[in-house]
Structure formats: structure tokens, C-alpha cells
Amino acid sequence: MFWRSSCAFFSCPTCRPTWRRNWKRPKRTTRTRILSQHTVHISTVIKRQLADVDNSSVLAIAENFKRGEWKAVDIVMEYLQRIHEMDKVLSAFLSVDAERALYKAQLLDEKWDKGEHLGPLAAVPVAIKDNLCTKGMVTTAGSKMLETFVPAYDATSVARLEAAGAIILGKTNMDEFGMGSSTELSGFHPSKNPWDPSRVCGGSSGGSAGAVSSGMAPFALGSDTGGSIRQPASFCGISGLKPTYGRVSRFGLIAFSSSLDTVGPMACSVAELATIFQILAGRDPMDPTSWSEAAPYSDILHRKGALDLKDVKLGVVDIFSSSLEENQVNDVMRCFLDSIRVFTKLNAQVVSISLPYLEEALAAYYVIAPSEASSNLARFDGVRFGSRQEASHISELYQKSRGLGMGAEVKRRMITGTFALSSGYYDAYYRKALRVRQCIIGQFEDLFRQVDVILCPTTPCAAFELGERMGGDPVKMYREDVLTIPPSLAGLPALSIPMGFDANQLPLGLQLIGNRQGEDLLFRVGHAFQMATDWHRQRPPIYRQYVQSSVTKSSS
């Protein structure tokens, strides 16, 4: 039975091992030998144990591996099996490198046998968003422009995870170059929401969110420019962190908007995010915008009295007076008010505040981000890398390669950015947007003198249907980010955690915004909320079906 499933596994196009140029094949072991070392009995046992929510967290997997209860190869095989079963429905992954993952797993098993030092995330599989460079693995940023691009180096965040022992399963789907809020704007195919595959999983880190939510990976890396980690985390019912700008290195991240981009983790619970964040954060000499004097991160989650929030002042955004659209679902209000009640029970002081400049922040973001994108994407010209079209002259080469390689949304944003930066309009648009940004930064500075953490819903609604916001007015899609954009503009850390479900059983997210370098307080407040509720422990139907069918298959 094991052999049959493994043969099917390797003939699956998603998980067939990919061959990479210039990669030296390890001489010692072959695929067959790796598989032959494991029996039916062990794979079933680990399947049952990993099906349990408590056992499949990042910390539990690392713990179980270090104690010797599970082998790294078994863990990786189970996750690859999940990808094989579920990704044909969800399409969260763009590429899966089974051979590389199994090879690393075997190395870790050998290290464990010899008793060598293992990193804090040893044997924990991870899915990486496709705009982070991974050495030897195709990195497309969701675009046909980079369909065959293989980076020669790892991004710093990827390198740090690898050094900590994490095993990369594959690269996840995303909106092209990070531009979009639904992952429908990927150059390849849309990704589906695990809670309802007829709906979007959010964007632009939609593939990562879908992978974590459906259990295809214990955690994932995403990138957040205007809400690209928090919004898909909210739509898929998981937790996602956008760190303070500069706290996690951007080296190796395919740039979209350089003053707004951040790299952050996505996982099922805040405790896991805290562990991963400690590994990712830190000064990087390869990124000149990374914080040099970073505040030392204090692991306050496990301190005594951490879950009692009596010394924490929470600012609750009065969403009735904020400029949100009128047809806001009552479910969002209901879940938000319930969450505030939970915090009150945890003894936090709750203060009502208002964020009056939401529309203006949205406008400023949609000047600054496209402007920076038009500059950053100028490097994709078909000369040194990327796809190239036939042309008789250099300008024609640029225009054709970029015209055919990039999607409509990317072109729209480049047009907007080029216009906003062009001579004569620079002051009226870009410079003005920078002044609006300063206004937003000042507003947040004033608010953080009164409160410690700001609370608001992550998105104005739950996941919408595939195709609902496509075509017609692009601004409809832009409005998804209205609540996530202000902290991005100010460079503040923000956390999105599940806060409930709407009438269609779709997850809703709660956003916690902290002061600069205040991730430890965010984790403390988020962790306290998750200890008092169990929204983060819910799993989508597709995952429950997988667990059911695999357990019945093994017992038959």
C-alpha cells in the first residue's frame, strides 16, 4: 500500500521531483532507498499524530523530532502526501521540490543519530512565497516574466530558516509581483480558499495562507506591502505577522515597493509566530534598511502573568465612524465586539479611538506603492534574466518582453506609478502622498501615546467569490486593504489572528497594531486572546476530510 501511494506520489506533476541545473546529485542515497527505509506502520502512526491540532504546530514537530519520536523523513513524507492530496483542489503551490526536501530531511536524521546540534526549527517543513529567492529553486514572483528564473542565492530570511533546520517543501502561489488582494492575479492560476474552494484565499500571500490553513505546511513565509500577509491570514483563518519595517531583512525579496515591503511568518497560532520571528529578525548587512539598533526581543509569552493584560491599554477603532463602506457585514461587527469582550475579561483596559484618514491613506498608498513599483520593476527588461521576446531593436525588446510577460494589474500599477512620478505631476501626486504618509505617521504617534495596542478588524468582509472583484473597476479590489494599509504606511508591526466566523462559515480576522519594534507586546496580547478562545484551532473541511479518509484508509 505504501509503495502504491509513493508511486502515485512521484508521478504527480505537482510533486514530481524537479531537476535543477548545476545541482550535484548526492551519490549515497537514491529515492528508492529513502522510501524503502520506512514501513507502513510508521507512516500511519505519524499521520494520526500529525492530524491532531496540538501535535502539528511548529513547536510540537521540532520537539517530537528532537526527542526522537518522529523521523524527519516521515514528517516530510506526510506533508508531501498532504500536498499531493489537497493541492489539486486548492492550487496553493507553484512548485514542490520533494527530492530536495527529503534529502535535507535525511541529513537531519543523520545529524540526530550522531547527536549533533540541531536548530530550533529542525525538521519543520515550510512553504515559501514565490517572491523570496531560493537557491536552485525556480522563483517566479507569480509572473510569467520570471517563469524560468533560478536564483543563485537564498534570501536572508530563507537562509535563516534553513540554518535553523527548517525544510523547504516548495514555493507558493501569489499575486503577480505582490500586486493584488486575492491571488487571482497570479500569472499562472488562482488559489482557492480551503474553507470554501469557490472563494479566494486573499492576497498576495494567498498560496502561503492556503497551505498553512489546509495543513499542507506547518508554517509559511509571506511578504506584506499593504496587507499581503494579514488579509490572506484573515480570509484563511490563520495568524500572520507583518513585522516592523526593517526588522526582518528584505534581501532576496523580489522588490515591489521598497519603503513598504516586509517579510513575515504565517502559522496557525501566535506562539508559533513568536518562535519563527525570533529566528527571522535581526540586522542584515545585505539590507541597508534593516534596523541596526534593534530592541532585544524579550520572550514575554512564557513569563508569569503574561496572560493577564491588566497593564495593557487597548485602543479599539470605532469602526462606526471610520470611513468604511455601508454594506459592511454585521458579522464583522459582531465578531469584533465579541473579541473586545474577551479582552475585557482578560482585564485589559479598552479605550475607544478613531482612525479618521482611512480613505486618504488608501489614496496615498496607491500613489506610493505603484510609483516605487514602476521603479523596481524597471529591471525586468528581458536582457539579463526573465523571459524575452523576439525584437529587432532594444526598445522593442523592452516593450514586447514587458508587455507580454507582465499581467494587466502589474501594467496598471506601472502606468499609475510612471504617471505619478513624471515631471510636472511629481509634486502634485508623489510628493503629496509622502506628506499624507507623514500625517498618518504623526497620527499613529499620537495614538500610541495614549494606548499600547490598536485593535480593528483586518478586513471589511470575509473571503469573496472567485471572479467577483475581477473585471470592471480595479478600485473595488483596492478597497480590500483599507484597514491594513495605515500600519504599512507608518512602518508599524501588525498581527492578524482569527476572531470568528461569518454566516457562511468563513473566517474573519482581528488586527492588532503595535508601536515600532513592539512585536513582543503584540505576541503577548495575541497569545492571551488565543488562550481564551479557540478560533485558531479550527480547521477547514478539506483538512478534516483528508484526516478522515487517511485514517479510514490506514485502518482498512
Binding site: 533560478v150 519595517y245 488608501l362 532594444i394 499624507v436
Partner: protein, 150 residues
């Protein structure tokens, strides 16, 4: 703004010649030729709120992106609605507010001047669509007066 094209994160130390046009030069040449755009630029406050296909096409040329006729129609209407959105910034009173040029207080960090070699140099060239004898091959660059306007 765009002053030239630079490699994403690495500067290849030596040995290969990268020939690329600075966008600014193309910008300059296009502006001289297109007088209607010049007039608009002189007084942006008088510029109309509506942008037609011709103007969007000129911006596409600045951005060096080719768009088809159907896309151009769609982009013209999309661009107008985006401009409506970004006009909302005018609602704020920004007198006395400086432009936020830097998000963090970053200063140039110096390091010792010790040269390092990048070991994976050949892997960089593997990604090139056309590469021969240490050069990236591109089509004709000079004699481009007719071609750059197309």
C-alpha cells in the same frame, strides 16, 4: 527616480558587459517630441481629470510597456478611476507637514573595505536569455530615432 538600471541585489564584479538604456534618456527624448504632454505638464492644476487613450499610450511608452488596443481601452477607464481615488488626498490639509522621505532613521553603515568574490557567478549567467563570450546579447541599440516612437 529612475536614473539607470541596476542589478537587483548583486553587482557582478568584473568580466561581463551590461548594456542597458537608462529610462531617463528615453523619457527626455519622448518629452521633447510630444508637445501636448509638455503643455499639460506646465500647469498640472489645469489638467483635466479625464485621461484618454492617447495619453495613456504615452505613459505606457514612458514605462516601456507595450499594450494591445483592447488593453489600452480598459486601461484608460481603469486609470481614470484610479486617478479619482488618488485625488482623495486633496481632502487633507497638509500645510506644515513635511514629506516622509524615510520610514526609519537609517544612516549609512560603513564596513571594512575587504573585497569578496561571489562564488556563484556562472549561475547568474545561466538565467540570461542570450549570453555569449561574457556579453549579454541584445538587438540593435543605436539608430533608434524611428523605433523608439513606435
Amino acid at each position: 527616480m529612475m536614473t539607470g538600471r541596476i542589478c537587483a541585489t548583486f553587482v557582478v564584479p568584473f568580466g561581463c558587459s551590461v548594456v542597458s538604456l537608462s529610462n531617463k534618456r528615453v523619457l527626455g527624448r519622448s518629452f521633447i517630441k510630444n508637445r501636448s504632454l509638455c503643455l499639460k505638464r506646465q500647469d498640472p492644476r489645469m489638467s483635466k481629470m479625464e485621461f484618454d487613450e492617447e495619453e495613456v499610450k504615452k505613459i505606457c511608452q514612458l514605462a516601456q510597456v507595450q499594450v494591445s488596443k483592447e488593453e489600452l481601452k480598459q486601461f484608460a477607464s481603469d486609470f481614470n478611476s484610479i486617478v479619482q481615488l488618488i485625488k482623495k488626498m486633496d481632502r487633507l490639509d497638509l500645510s506644515g507637514t513635511e514629506a516622509a522621505e524615510y520610514v526609519i532613521e537609517a544612516h549609512n553603515k560603513l564596513r571594512e573595505d575587504i573585497p569578496k568574490n561571489f562564488q556563484e557567478r556562472d549561475a547568474l549567467f545561466d538565467n540570461a536569455p542570450a549570453f555569449t563570450q561574457g556579453f549579454y546579447q541584445v538587438p540593435k541599440i543605436l539608430e533608434d530615432t524611428q523605433h523608439s516612437e513606435n
